[in-house]
Point group: C2
Chain length 433, copies 2
């Protein structure tokens, strides 16, 4: 974070030179090394500054040669297009609707160390990985899923892939004879799209389907969970009717309790349930490692076909994650994030009460990632969200009433230090409504 200013200084410096015409089209910028020496900053910082200039069309890289000032017209046009795209997002100061993670919660240094160590295992990296995922990593994931999610599994049931969609691409062709899938949440387009691509009928009617796709740990956008009774009923329904449940365990990691509600897969014994888990929320969204646990019948089908599918996660990342979990860092990371989110939720709750007094009622959530409340004001939820967005605050609408609006806040992406200003801005929004 602290480098931001440095690379933005480089960005601003050259941007000004280019916009003022002092650096005309075709001029070469100093090499990254030279600029780094001259300014006594790291090469990475210079590169970041140059990348931003590239992004905004001011300069162009030439292969093996360096960076050159682009056509001014081109540059301006690019910049305009970029700005247009960014417009909606760039004025957002406080994103309480984010699916990102908190920069402070992830210890990048530790992860970097593990990737570095993995990249030293040159011999292993010379060959294609196992299609199903590295054996050692599958073992660690099986332990993890058994311990934290009560899953019934061994390394033999686990398939690793670069994201949930990649795993669905492997799963869909295995589901013979089952052609209608019910999504509890049809707005999860990234899930429905894959099934549609494979010719499945997608519905929200459980009765008329033979596959049920559900996220019991994320049944609302503010992390409500399916009750244990509903979980039992669902697995019972599936067992009696012979349906397959696909349990997308998104959002299960951050609960107020150390042991979250057990997974459907664990409740049911793993027989007719496919479990999907991901590490994107725990590590970084940009690290693409997910896994699925297949029941025995589907593992048999998978084993017949697995030589046809290449593994999609780089082996180095798999080796790194394996040691990272084995050495206890994943669990430590979960504890650390949970603590941070609890702290932020507490602060946000206090600020809401302090600023809105009896006009606010704090509602229960299952996850420390979210704060939810009802405002005792005469405004629709939709209007409140729109007005807040105009002032740079993104909120999650938690009902669709015309008065007494209910709002959820994700505390993932807003820093502790910004919470106070965010709530004060929101107070002004309400006052001026």
């Amino acid at each position: 974070m602290k480098n931001r200013k440095l690379y933005m200084q480089i960005y601003d410096y050259y941007k000004n030179l280019i916009e003022s015409g002092k650096l005309p089209e075709g001029s070469k910028l100093p090499s990254i090394r030279r600029c780094s020496n001259e300014r006594n900053v790291s090469k990475t910082t210079v590169e970041q500054g140059y990348m931003c200039l590239c992004d905004d069309g001011y300069i162009l890289p030439k292969s093996q040669s360096g960076y050159y000032v682009s056509k001014r017209g081109n540059a301006m046009k690019k910049a305009e297009i970029k700005n247009e795209n960014k417009q909606e997002k760039s004025h957002i100061l406080y994103d309480f609707a984010s699916a990102g993670v908190d920069a402070e919660s992830f210890n990048m240094d530790i992860w970097r160390r593990y990737v570095k160590s993995a990249l030293r295992q040159t011999e292993k990296l010379l060959f294609y990985g196992e299609p199903q995922g590295e054996y050692d990593l599958r073992k660690e994931i099986a332990n993890y899923a058994r311990e934290t999610r009560n899953c019934v599994c061994t390394e033999e049931n686990i398939v690793i892939g670069a994201g949930v969609q990649t795993l669905l691409n492997i799963l869909c062709p295995l589901l013979k004879g089952k052609k209608t899938v019910c999504f509890d949440d049809l707005s999860y387009r990234q899930g429905t799209a894959i099934f549609t691509d494979y010719g499945f009928r997608v519905t929200d009617n459980r009765e008329k389907s033979n596959i049920i796709y559900t996220s019991p740990s994320y049944s609302t956008r503010w992390g409500d969970i399916m009750s244990v009774k509903d979980r039992f009923d669902l697995t019972e329904h599936a067992r009696i009717t012979g349906k397959l449940i696909i349990e997308d365990d998104y959002g299960s990691e951050f609960r107020y309790f150390n042991r979250p509600t057990p997974s459907l897969q664990g409740l049911d014994g793993g027989e007719n349930i496919v479990y999907l888990g991901t590490f994107s929320k725990l590590l970084l969204p940009s690290i693409r490692i997910s896994f699925m646990i297949l029941p025995q019948s589907l593992i048999n089908e998978y084993n017949k076909k697995k030589h046809l599918y290449n593994q999609t996660v780089s082996k180095a990342d798999q080796i790194a994650l394996c040691s990272y979990i084995r050495d206890g860092h994943l669990n430590a990371q979960i504890r650390k994030s949970r603590k941070l989110y609890m702290q932020k939720s507490k602060i946000l709750t206090d600020l809401l009460v302090e600023n809105f007094g009896k006009n606010v009622e704090i509602l229960k959530t299952n996850s420390p990632l979210y704060v939810r409340c009802k405002f005792n004001i005469n405004l629709s939820t939709e209007d409140l969200c729109r007005m807040a967005e105009n002032q740079g605050i993104l909120l999650i609408p938690a009902n669709s009433r015309k008065d007494f609006p209910e709002i959820a806040f994700s505390v993932a992406s807003v820093g502790i230090e910004s919470l106070e200003n965010a709530v004060k801005t929101l107070k002004n929004v309400v006052r001026n409504s």
Copy 2:
């Protein structure tokens, strides 16, 4: 490479202790740190040794606790199963049929440096990447494809994914109304499987198809290329009939000439051709980064749907590859590999002539990765390959005759220092036939 002995020493040491019963079930092994200190070797070396012990079932990791000797019965059973699986491969001394790469040709240090630098860009890594792939990387890939493969493209045409199959998972649903695909090589099951999964009919009859999947740079297993005339004929045929060509440019990188035969995509102008390229051969097979170039009509379809598909390549790898290409390392790597493969092919050719004299006839290949020859002996190609395999030599059969067997050798995975022994072993095989 030089660490192999060290970690195998650790492996052997504990294996012996466990097999002899000196370390009974449930005993805890020293921590990686302690073992590393005691033996004065790196922690990575210890970890590799322990991993091998895990792999073979001698020890089991317990989360956050350490490594324990497993049930002996379990251990032995595991070991047997493993051995059974490895049996076929483990006796192979000289793999001339490999699709791997040469350990010596890839400078891991440089790649490691770029990944490290990418992992320092924490702010970028906090968010999900662009579904299509990072803009900067797409720009570098567009340059690369234009310069080395004559492709007609910009960054807007390029989609990045974790392997060719992942890209086909995005492509297949875009191909509306085209439902029969012709594979020049039906034995490429990893390609045909994806199309079959999406309900396409797969055939080897070009006339009866509306999509043609072809690898013009790899029309045989020893890297024969499609002639320029055939390339023109094919693109012409596709244009007249309105067919779509999918050009899988596998194996185009290593040619005797600096500029290999232009891609179909380049010849045709990019209108009705999808181009697939991969970096697995250039970097390491375990680094999963591929790309496709879509023609304008398909890019329009893709843009409508791209928000539905998450990117599958970790952002750090994308950032690393972008800088790696930009700084000229990819081109340097290609030159270096080509030089190494030419040297190895030359040595192998000389050894064959030296050892087999007038009983061998060296045949032309297009790629320095391969040596091909005809043996003037009374043996079928099949028998020669089988007998060679029994002596630890894997060969590529290059015809199916009953005498005058033709053989291709991939020099990728066999080290220079092993070539002489390999050819001498082969000479004995032929002598004893």
